[in-house]
Amino acid sequence: MAVTTDRSTLAQKILAYGGLLFALLIVLVPYSYVALSAFKPPGEIFEVKWLPDEWSLDAWRYAIESVEFHKYILNSFFAGLGAAAIALIIAVPGGYIFGRKKFKGKEPLFYIIILALLFPFVLLIVPLTISWIKVGLYDTMFGLWLSYQVFIIPFGLWILRGFFEELPASLEECAMVYGCTQFQAFYRVMLPLAKPVVVSLLFLSFLIGWNDFLFSNMLTTGEGPRTASVIIYIMAVGGERVEWEVLMVLTLIAGIPPVVLYILAQRQLMKTFR
């Protein structure tokens, strides 16, 4: 890179570093305190101090052996995976059509989808619970997967449509000149080009399955596919005595995978939101 003159003023630097420092502190202070607390023995959790006098893995052992948290983490993992798979089937073809094709009634139909995006989806929990009981989807993983789509699809269609729309206009025609069918033009040419937005969709929908509490709690029972979020909720507000050191272990176990996934997906995400 050639020499670029840094034209930023001192004021600009102070403001930028100040803002950055503030944002980093409000995030890092709680997280580092929590990470350290997960290694405190039960007796030390009630004192406010950063480092434990005696480092202990008791809470971790308890989380696996007594809470059996790994089971619920596995449920969360499948919840996210299924949510992403179904989102892929619904949103990718739909988003492609809205971004690339012309047909009668396209505008009003898309407004209906936008309306769904602006819709406070939480109230659908009410009829869905009743219907899921009737059709046997209550307390099943498949029922959860379907219900998560309520959060995912409207937003997914929105970002996919935007991305497909911005791709060069004559791509499909070119592909068809070279002998592709309509479907092949989509599958071989358009889909690979849309990789950033498809990755973003997969990431966001996995996250919704993994992170959700409202539907997972309402639509499952103790015997069914309870996810990690539900267990954390129950542990945090359920009992008479909260085992904070264990709870902090659980928050770390359930909280770190999404962050790792974000780091893996971040380049695609930034391209999607541009």
Binding site: R7, V122, I130, F213, Y233, L250, Y262
Partner: protein
């Protein structure tokens, strides 16, 4: 002739590709919504026969002594969106400066609250804010800001403040990501030109940066208003909607009626008010959004 065949292949693809989307819209959004409206005219338990009640649920809710408490707490909680926007702007503008090193690392750190499950961050703040053993109260007392711990969970005002602040802390990175992506797309030459004309820092922000990110900000604000009002995992975990109904934002009340009381008719009735409230709140922003689109088309 060829064109005729191509049109039919095209139509076929459109129909096949739209089918999943249409099925989703019908079976997961609009039919349940209509079913919910039907349910709101009943006394509808989880198991057992629903009983017709007509508009009684609506009358009961409007006449309930907690009606205004709930509306007020919903309005209060809505301010979380403004805090999120402020925080997102500060962080995105700071991180977008050329001289900042290790940008990707900081971006990864900042995304953490948003990436984690809301009940995870909720549990973390329950621990941090615990009146007796939490770190926040400890330091507030140590620095002499408060003389005794605040039992926020049983105080109407503090409970509202806590759920609003914690929600802001959790969800600001969403807007941050969107704004940052827009900032990065601004060509450097625009700033150079502004400089040539002698624009100072504030003028550069107003004439170059702001017009560029306004559209994205508007979209993000609209989406966040809707989601903040609907995604209530965390405030529900923090206060359970209490004390009394003080932090029962409309959607929390819906959840309380469905999950805790098993009164599904009433739950959806409250849900209808949530829809009305949401659209009332985003109405002005939508209008602006519409104006922006028509302006762009001209």
């Amino acid at each position: 002739m060829k064109p005729a065949r191509r049109i039919s292949a095209d139509t076929w693809l459109i129909i096949a590709f739209l089918l999943p989307t249409l099925a989703f819209l019908i079976f997961l959004i609009w039919l349940p919504f209509i079913q919910g409206i039907w349910m709101s005219f009943h006394n509808w338990p989880l198991i057992g026969e629903p009983k017709w009640k007509g508009l009684e649920n609506y009358r009961d809710f409007l006449a309930a002594d907690y009606f205004w408490v709930v509306i007020k707490s919903t309005i209060f909680y809505s301010f979380s969106t403004a805090l999120q926007l402020g925080m997102a702007l500060v962080a995105a503008l700071a991180l977008n400066q050329k001289f900042i090193p290790l940008k990707q690392v900081w971006r990864g750190v900042m995304i953490m609250p948003y990436a984690m499950p809301p009940v995870v961050t909720g549990a973390i703040w329950l621990y941090m804010l615990d009146p007796n053993m939490g770190m926040v109260m400890y330091y507030l007392q140590k620095f002499g800001i408060i003389s005794q711990p605040i039992y926020w969970a049983s105080d109407a005002t503090w409970a509202k403040i806590v759920i609003t602040l914690v929600a802001s802390w959790t969800f600001w990175p969403f807007m941050f990501l969107i704004i940052l992506a827009q900032l990065q797309a601004i060509p450097e030459s625009y700033y150079e030109l502004a400089e040539v004309y002698g624009a100072n820092l504030w003028q550069r922000f107003r004439t170059v940066t702001l017009p560029h990110i306004k559209g994205a900000m508007l979209t993000a604000v609209i989406i966040r208003i809707v989601w903040n009002l609907a995604k209530i995992d965390q405030p529900f975990q923090l206060t359970g909607g209490g004390p009394g109904y003080e932090t029962s934002v409309l959607s929390i009340l819906t959840y309380r009626f469905a999950y805790l009381s098993g009164n599904f008719g009433m739950a959806f009735t409250v849900g209808i008010f949530l829809v009305l409230f949401t659209f009332l709140l985003i109405g002005p922003f939508l209008k602006k959004f519409q104006a922006q689109i028509t302006q762009a088309r001209r």
